[in-house]
Each structure stands twice: as C-alpha cells, then as structure tokens.
C-alpha cells in the first residue's frame, strides 16, 4: 500500500490544486460549502463535478444533469473491469467501498507499475488521491467565498478551459482528432436547437458509438 502512496505523491499537489479550484468555482457558482464538500465526497469524480456545477447554476433540468454525469463517467467501466481481477478474495463490503474510489490518476499509477495492476498499490494511490482531492476542495471552498464578481477575472471561463485542456492531452491519434472535432461540431449544431443541455449526451454518445463501429480496433 505504501508503494502506491509514494508513487502518487507526485500527483498529490496537482490533484489538491484541482480540487481547490473546483471548490472555489463551485462556491462562486452559488453552491453552499456543505453542498460542494458533499458532492466531492459522494460523487468523487472531478471532471463530472466540473460539468455539473455550471449546469446547476444555469437551472438545467435535474435529469439532464444526472444523465450527463453518467455519460461523462462511463469511462469508469473500463477501469473497473481492468482492476477487478486484482481484487479477488476481498470481502464484498470492502469491494463496494473501494469501487467508489476508482479514479483516473490511481488507475494510471497502478497500471503503469504492473499489468495486471496490484490491488495494494492501487489502494494506496486511491487513498492519497482522494485525500488530496477532498482536502483541496475544502481549501477552495474557504477561499472561493472571498472573490467578488468572478466573471471580472475570467473565472467563469475556467470550466470550458478545464474541458479543453482535458481533451487536448488525449488527442494522440488522427482518429482521436476526428472523433473530437465531429463531436464538437455536432454538439454546437444541437446546442442551437435543443433545450436543456441535452446536446452533450446526444453528441457525445452518438459520435463515440459511431466511431467505435467504424474505426479499426487496436489495443493500446
């Protein structure tokens, strides 16, 4: 477990800052400190939380927010399926708890160390990352209330900026670009005609499903 903790230390500062940026922006967007911390503990999925906050602030229908959260987090299926065999022999109660801590950073750390990933390395990392994230959110919540008129400092733009940065680092193959650009174009078109932010789910699912059907399968 210590190995996973130590291997994740390099990521702790950036996860902490990421959490505090989220905490600060969410308070700015009108959520209460308890709601921001509650969301970070109960949902514990940074990207989806960044997605949800401006939707909540804009009064988007409940179902649209929840379905969007689900789609943004569908990548967890892939991580859960890869990690699961390493956890044979653990009690079901522990498994139910550990499942909640599945996150991109710990997955990356565990998979980079060994394939199949080691359960204890993964657990150590998950503890470090979840602690850093929730701690960061706490600090952000405390600081976020101090800024008045956030749009004056461009802080409202931090949400789309985070998403664009997350896309930019994932574009490795030419087909990745094809998927990203098609989804963006389709979503912009839909956003002009569809109400309630459904364009995210519709464009995201349609373009990725079409891509998975027509693109050649190559294992990374």
């Amino acid at each position: 477990m210590r190995e996973g903790l130590v291997a994740s230390l390099a990521l702790v500062p950036s996860v902490f800052v990421y959490g505090s940026v989220f905490g600060g922006l969410a308070v700015q967007a009108g959520l209460t400190p308890a709601q921001v911390l509650g969301m970070s503990v109960l949902v514990f999925a940074g990207a989806a939380q960044f997605v949800a906050v401006p939707m909540i602030a804009a009064g988007t229908p409940l179902l649209a927010i929840i379905v969007t959260t689900y789609v943004v987090n569908m990548r967890h299926y892939l991580m859960a399926a890869t990690l699961a065999p390493s956890f044979r022999g653990f009690h079901r109660l522990w498994l139910a708890l550990i499942a909640h801590l599945i996150n991109d950073e710990s997955f990356a750390v565990a998979v980079a160390r060994s394939r199949p990933p080691d359960a204890r390395v993964y657990l150590g990392s998950a503890l470090a990352i979840s602690g850093a994230f929730v701690g960061g959110v706490g600090v952000g919540v405390a600081l976020g209330g101090l800024v008045e008129r956030p749009e004056r400092y461009g802080l409202d733009f931090a949400f789309p900026a985070v998403f664009l940065a997350l896309v930019a680092v994932q574009l490795r193959r030419r087909t990745d670009w094809l998927i990203a650009v098609s989804a963006a174009a389709f979503a912009v078109l839909l956003a002009l005609v569809l109400p309630g932010n459904w364009h995210i789910v519709v464009a995201g699912l349609a373009v990725s499903a079409l891509g998975a059907r027509v693109l050649p399968v190559e294992e990374p």
Binding site: F44, L62, G154, A165, V167, I200
Partner: protein
C-alpha cells in the same frame, strides 16, 4: 431537501453505477474489443461536446466574432495543454487572457 442536494444524490448514484457493477462482478472475461474502444472514445467525444458550445454558443446564437474573449481563451488553453504544459497552468493562462480581453473591451 433542496433541488441541489437532489442533483448531488442523483449524480452520486449515477456515478456509482459506472464504478461498482464491473468491479463487484470481478469480471473474469475482458470486455469485447469494440466495447473497450467505445468506452475509450466516450470522453474524447463528450468533453469537446461540452466545451465548444460553452465557448461558441451564447443565448442560443453562434458567437464567432474575433472580439469574443472566450474564443481566444479556448485557443490559448488548447495550444498550451496540447504542448504538454501543466493542466492548471494552461487553464490559468486562458482565464487571464479572457479577463484581460474583457478589461480592454
């Protein structure tokens, strides 16, 4: 219970449903390759589908003018992050550009 808490609980359940089922089933077989490919492509499609309308659509209309600060912010964050600059540094630079253009405009 307030609306926001309802959203949070709904999000928590939706997210847990993406984590727990496969994990608890201890998937003995790997997922079919096409399904793996699809799950890999979902974030690649969802994130741009999320970000671009936030940048380009305002009040139900396309905002493509060069005097639209978010457009320049988007270019800055995308180019920096693609070049391997730290995620938070890229975001901070884009936020600063947007704030500066707004102050000037």
């Amino acid at each position: 219970m307030s609306r926001v808490w309802l959203v949070i609980v709904g999000m928590a359940v939706a997210t847990y449903l993406t984590r727990a089922p496969m994990f608890l089933a201890l998937a003995h077989r790997p997922l079919p390759p096409r399904v793996r490919l699809w799950l890999r492509l979902v974030p690649l499609a969802v994130l741009p589908a999320l970000a671009l309308p936030m940048v380009l659509v305002r009040d139900g209309r396309l905002a493509l003018g060069l005097a639209h600060p978010p457009l320049w912010g988007a270019v800055v964050v995308f180019v920096l992050a693609a070049r391997g600059v730290n995620l938070l540094v890229s975001v901070a630079a884009a936020v600063a550009v947007v704030a500066l253009l707004r102050a000037l405009g």
